[in-house]
């Protein structure tokens, strides 16, 4: 029942906003819909806490501690982003960058995107997982090109083709998965693609077919995670789309795609009886982290900078899940949460910073603290948090990843540390002049919604200092599920 509410709210909202999205109150309606989704997600969480894992609607949906935590995170960031986008998009419209028709498209597609991600997280059917991942791409592609500038059309085309091709590989992987399972679970029915059924027989799945299937699934969904070398679409799409879209792409879509990879890895682990899937994740993760941290140096655009930082962090998370085991999985899940909250907060602050100075070029953004202290502090604290400074939660998860790496794979530790140091220097040296210094820019016409920034950073800070026992228990449960 709660599942239907979680999926129904954004879906109905998308239809409603497709009609009234151009009206003055559309932004408020979007906030209300997102709040309803969040409440439904909270109800779902309560139910899982009390009742444990469950399936629903002829086993088409499956909720366990792993995905319910991502559902909650998605609904939360979805809500705060809609709060942020209310003044942000209003300012954009007044600057003449958006017409009412495009605002309608924005509000409607935003909710559809939420629905697609929530469906991907809750479905038990690997086929539907693919369908909803594709739906998530389709609903955001027109959002990336919302400004209809040359650069944004180009970015959206790149996003569309690259993710379309990537996800096609994932479909081939899904077909192979079905082939591997068909003999065991019966071909005619739907059962052979249900994850719970696959998980029950994963030890008997044909290893060679599963190996091939996993390669395709990893590369396919990995494209959407932004893993190198198929990460090219990510910085463009993040930089050229409207800021709320950058925030949800970076904070949520990458997580959902990684969730799909992990679900496949659990099956592959069981079938292959070897560490190969884990090693592949570690390889891709490490490569992405290193590449992204060096690319950070070459960025001049503030949103591109943080887009590359997203690739870096997704690399770290992928590496953590690749190592496997309860501690590394715990760290991966924690880092997923921390990255999602911190990065969306940074994009909120960076969005208002670009509105203040009228450009995304970092050498033109100066003196944020002088003109708008809360934007400046938001960007500075967010930047420090994402760089893994101690009181924040990102530090905790990165520390856990590093000590696990030190214990199990000592060779990887210096590479990771070097990448983190390079990233730190790159981002901090850009951040400092943007926040301090003098400026003659004028204040914004509307009060920016910075409550989401500080709420996110507050949660990240709290998690760094003190993880509530209930939450820690929940993470531990999910980590154990992933370890299989």
């Amino acid at each position: 029942m709660e599942i239907l509410l979680v999926l129904g709210c954004p879906l109905l909202g998308a239809m409603l906003l497709a009609v009234v999205g151009a009206k003055r109150y559309a932004a408020e309606a979007s906030v209300a819909i997102s709040l309803a989704t969040l409440l439904a997600a909270a109800a779902l969480v309560l139910r899982i806490i009390h009742g444990g894992s469950m399936t629903a609607l002829h086993e088409e949906f499956f909720i366990d501690p792993f995905n319910v935590f991502l559902v909650a995170l998605t609904a939360l960031v979805g809500f705060t982003t809609s709060v942020f986008s209310r003044p942000y998009m209003r300012i954009e419209a007044e600057h003449g960058r958006l017409t009412p028709a495009r605002l309608r498209l924005y509000h409607s597609m935003y909710q559809l995107f939420m629905a697609a991600m929530l469906l991907a997280l809750t479905t038990n059917n690997m086929g539907f997982l693919w369908v909803s991942m594709e739906m998530a791409t389709l609903s955001t592609v027109l959002l990336v090109s919302l400004y209809r500038t040359r650069a944004s059309v180009e970015a959206a085309w790149k996003y569309f083709i690259l993710c379309g091709v990537g996800i096609a590989l994932a479909l081939f992987g899904t077909a192979l998965l079905y082939a591997a399972a068909e003999n065991l679970l019966g071909g005619e029915g739907m059962n052979a693609l249900l994850w719970t059924h696959l998980n029950a027989v994963k030890g008997q799945l044909e290893p060679r077919v599963m190996g091939l299937a996993f390669v395709f699934l990893l590369v396919g969904y990995g494209t959407k995670v932004g893993l190198a070398p198929l990460h090219n679409w990510l910085p463009d799409a993040h930089a050229e789309g409207p800021t709320p879209v950058s925030a949800v792409l970076s904070g949520l879509l990458l997580n959902v795609a990684l969730y799909a990879v992990i679900r496949c890895k659990i099956l592959a682990d069981g079938a292959l009886h070897s560490a190969l899937p884990g090693h592949m994740l570690m390889g891709f993760g490490l490569l992405s982290t290193v590449l992204a941290s060096f690319f950070l140096w070459r960025q001049r655009d503030i949103k591109r900078l943080f887009a590359y930082s997203s690739i870096e962090h997704m690399g770290i998370i992928t590496f953590a899940f690749g190592m496997g085991g309860p501690i590394a999985n715990f760290a991966g899940l924690l880092h997923m949460t921390m990255h999602s909250l911190t990065k969306s907060a940074i994009f909120f602050a960076a969005g208002h910073a670009t509105q203040l100075s009228g450009t995304q070029r970092m050498d033109k953004i100066r003196g944020l603290l002088a003109i708008h202290p809360s934007v400046g502090w938001g960007l500075m604290l967010g930047g420090l948090a994402i760089l893994g400074m101690p009181p924040f939660g990102v530090f905790t998860s990165e520390y856990l990843v590093l000590i696990t790496a030190m214990r199990d794979h000592p060779w990887a530790t210096p590479i990771l540390l070097a990448a983190l140091a390079v990233a730190f220097a790159a981002i901090f040296s850009r951040l400092q002049p943007m926040v301090f210094g003098d400026t003659d820019d004028r204040p914004l016409p509307h009060t920016p919604a910075l409550v989401p920034v500080f709420v996110h950073l507050g949660i990240v800070l709290m998690m760094g200092v003190y993880i509530p026992p209930a939450l820690a228990e929940w993470y531990r449960l999910a980590a154990r599920l992933i370890a299989g």
């Binding site: 059917n125 369908v131 594709e134 059309v153 899904t174 077909a175 192979l176 060679r208 070459r298």
Partner: protein
């Protein structure tokens, strides 16, 4: 090969035709002829699916063949033909550099595909088991086409040919995906083509042509 039934032989011949069409697409310059080749590819796909459905007596494959017929042979080409006329690119001629190299790379991909498909084919139980290599080859050739071509329209044709290859792969390993999943995929594909259509106009509006060589501004600096 004497033990193969007539239906199986016909199916394998059709699979061969699919591969040939993929190569033809790789070498075709004109947008209009490319689209006609895509329709042919869809038609061959429908024919082979129908044959499989009747030899294996699977009703759900009849439905998915019908879905393919409507979507890939009728609706999508119709949309693309209309788009082509509206954009006035029917006679567009795309220069192809290094055609021999492209063909050689294509050949290498086919060999690679057969090698990759070997272990899976050996395990599949369907009448189409030997054709998985061809399906994978069609997929890889479509990739090559998307990578090598510089026109937005051609890339879309490559994308749709990729979908055809995927569909063929699903039929040859497992007699197709469950019906509900296939419906979902069809819906996604339809939406994708609509968005492609919208994009053609955006790209033209911004760049005055559908030539992707002009889309090079977003490079790392």
């Amino acid at each position: 090969m004497a033990h193969l039934s007539l239906a199986t032989q016909v199916i394998q011949m059709l699979a061969g035709a699919l591969l040939l069409i993929s190569f033809a697409m790789l070498a075709e310059r004109r947008s209009r002829r490319l689209l006609i080749l895509l329709v042919w590819q869809g038609a061959v796909l429908v024919a082979s699916t129908l044959l499989v459905a009747s030899t294996a007596h699977l009703t759900h494959l009849f439905y998915s063949a019908a879905l393919t017929l409507v979507l890939k042979v009728c609706v999508l080409p119709w949309i693309l033909f209309r788009l082509m006329r509206k954009l006035g690119i029917e006679r567009d001629n795309e220069p192809l550099v290094n055609l021999p190299t492209l063909m050689l790379v294509g050949l290498a991909l086919v060999i690679f595909a057969f090698g990759l498909a070997q272990p899976v084919s050996a395990l599949a139980t369907t009448v189409l088991r030997d054709t998985l290599g061809i399906a994978l080859a069609v997929i890889l050739l479509s990739f090559l086409m998307i990578l090598a071509r510089r026109k937005a329209f051609t890339q879309v044709i490559g994308f749709l040919s990729l979908e055809n290859g995927l569909f063929f792969a699903a039929t040859s390993t497992t007699y197709g995906m469950p019906m509900v999943v296939e419906l979902g995929m069809a819906l996604d594909l339809l939406v994708a083509v609509f968005i492609f259509g919208i994009f053609f106009f955006h790209i033209r509006e911004q760049f005055d042509s559908l030539d992707l060589d002009q889309l090079e501004s977003l490079k790392e600096d």
